[in-house]
Symmetry: C2
Subunit: 412 residues, 2 copies
């Protein structure tokens, strides 16, 4: 039994500052009252940037904007507002994006294609950019380096805690820092739980290498979590390098063959996974974090499909919510995944206890032990398909009455 | 606006008898107390039979059995038990199937490959066939033609009402009858809501033609409904022809070019849809029936994938439960389907009101009208993709706190 759950002490985390990046937040009142809902993140010099975005065929206007400027791969500012997703807002949405990026570019005296935008909140409601544009100059003036918690708080929607983490890496004698913030609450919900994450490092890494590392890392982190199988129109993950560690004499990392590549890439991956697990732990209405581990599939791709089938099954998730060791539903979810599977070779574990083996209930199965295990706040489910060496891990949360309540009552 | 919801008066339906088919039920006490949970359906002469089954890669032992005998395509008896699915029961499961089919075959003096079996209930729990086998002879003795409601009741699990329907068709001067029963409650739930349906006609139709009609009809009915996106290990749909109308002189229908084919096939299809809608209407915890109609997709196949993405979205379903006209979630579900879609050509209707057009909220949108509409017990959602002529209709139900409660607490 190998569980990936991380220690969870981010709330008392001592976030280091990163030279060359400052942040300021504001209360715009667009949707939320008495809380910040606008983040302006500023790079003193243009940072290298990499990004991955929602696969939705109906992306938001800010996602379209970010995608279009990513080829330039330089960022001076990031504007994030919560409360309104500026998605499915047609021409008005594109106008709002134009006004906001122009105003932020003016405030920073930079080109428009160095301003990244992300919006999260209600869908289909026009975002009145005129209420925001006058804020960028004063925010730029008051932005400060030691402001990571405020930044994480300003981008929350239905999140119950701010998602933030940091790590230090030693690369060939130089210590560099990677800071990250995120928001989630569901894999989605157009009007509540878009997944956004912004990661900044002072390590001097060129944009193409950042992009490679990000695309590689996202598969085992943000793309391995699910709250409700729904996908936002606005998911945005951006990774920036200020490169300020060059001031200490550190040379640029701009080829994959650089011996520092692997260490840095691993650090980014573990930071992505940390943020992704914070998101799933805070899934709407969630009380339990579930790790689904599929082994013995015919390939890793097949294993991931089966794992996602289990993690997205409402019946598996409600069983966990009800603290019911209902391994039969795991069989069902393996069966419906459409991947190669053989009932008579399938084994299933909950925690360290094997519940089923070779296509039937394990003779050592104990309802008492099972019931006791299901009271845990972190549930590990493993399905061994018995056909090959393919493996995958994904994470989800339980499906509770609170999820239904939150999502049934949100907009009205 | 073209809704398919059918009048719902099955409970006071006057079910006709069908010459050549008798039914008896029993209380076995395997799981349920004080109710029938075993159905023995008997054909006086071997009936022609067609079947479709779950696509699960981990099917139940009875499904394996039915599939293996379908090539013979003759049925003298059908045994259905509720309370235990005999799924994921390994060798014990196969032994139970053998014992039950042999006992039923002995009671009817027929070969074992003319006995069809279906089981629904808890998964992974061995089914003790020895408690059932002695019942077949007495059940055979007391079976009667006028027993359709009792048959429908005996196969229920968490269903809140028995699912039953009938229709009469005139084929070239002869009146024939088609009777059907079903059980559902979810598209699935290995231990509660497997979908089973048994349909019998006195029309003399050969097995290959029955199979063709069934496979054709299931796509637009049973395969167009979803309660929770989960797929049972045990789904079984069987269509039988007793052929007893030949006694009135009616000739066999055994080629597709027969002019009666279309009329008969249409009747079967509408009966399948009727039963499928009864199942979705009785989805676990459901309070509202939802019809999702996708038009303007690039193909019918694409339209159905988009429709299923909408119908399976927990966020769309919770919004309907909360009587919230949250069309933004429909946009999200269109976007995540992975099918061709263009945000700026998308239009969305709830009932007869268009909420969104050309990628933004309709200027005529009225929150008052929308809120009023959402109080209906039947909700029609249409998404026009604006790209082609592909169309599909699927049906689902809302996702309520009761679904979570039912599925979180069932087994323990």
């Amino acid at each position: 039994m190998t569980m990936t759950f991380l220690p969870f002490s981010q709330s008392c985390l001592d976030m280091p500052t990163l030279a060359g990046v400052r942040m300021a937040t504001a209360k715009t009142g667009i949707r939320y009252k008495n809380r910040t809902d606008l983040l302006f993140l500023i790079f003193e010099r243009a940072a290298d940037v990499a990004g991955v975005f929602t696969r939705s065929r109906c992306p938001s206007a800010p996602v379209d904007h970010c995608r279009s400027i990513l080829a330039h791969a330089r960022a001076r500012g990031v504007v994030v507002n919560s409360g309104n997703a500026n998605a499915f807002t047609g021409k008005k949405g594109r106008t709002a994006v134009k006004l906001m990026s122009e105003a932020a570019a003016t405030a920073l005296s930079c080109p428009v294609n160095e301003i990244y935008l992300a919006s999260t909140g209600v869908i289909g409601e026009p975002l009145d950019a005129r209420e925001l544009v006058h804020l960028f100059a004063p925010l730029s003036a008051k932005a400060k380096e030691d402001n990571w918690f405020e930044a994480a708080k300003a981008i929350m929607t239905t999140d119950t805690f701010a998602k933030i983490t940091t790590c230090k890496v030693h690369l060939d004698g130089y210590e560099v820092t990677i800071n990250g913030i995120a928001k989630g609450a569901g894999m989605i919900a157009p009007d509540m739980a878009t997944m956004l994450s912004f990661i900044v490092t002072d390590a001097p890494v060129s944009a193409p290498i950042l992009q490679e590392i990000l695309e590689d890392g996202v598969g085992l982190s943000f793309n391995s979590i699910t709250v409700d199988s729904d996908t936002s129109t606005s998911d945005t993950l951006l990774l920036f390098s200020t490169g300020s560690a060059t001031k200490k004499g550190m040379p640029y990392l701009n080829v994959r063959s650089d011996p520092r590549y692997k260490t840095f890439a691993e650090a980014v991956k573990s930071l992505l996974l940390n943020l992704a697990l914070q998101i799933v732990r805070d899934g709407e209405g969630a009380r339990k974090l579930i790790e689904v581990h599929v082994t013995g599939a015919v390939s890793d791709v097949s294993a991931k499909k089966i794992a996602m089938s289990i993690a997205n099954s409402p019946l598996v998730k409600t069983a966990v919510a009800g603290e019911d060791a209902n391994w039969g539903r795991v069989v069902m979810a393996v069966g419906k995944a459409g991947e190669e599977a053989d009932r008579d070779r399938l084994s299933i574990w909950f925690g360290s206890q094997r519940f089923a083996v070779d296509g039937e209930r394990d003779s050592t199965y104990s309802e008492t032990i099972a019931s006791h295990y299901m009271r845990s706040s972190e549930i590990y489910i493993r399905a061994d398909i018995g056909l090959g060496n393919g493996a995958a891990k994904v994470w989800t949360c339980d499906l509770t009455r609170d999820y239904v309540m939150i999502n049934g009552d949100y907009r009205s």
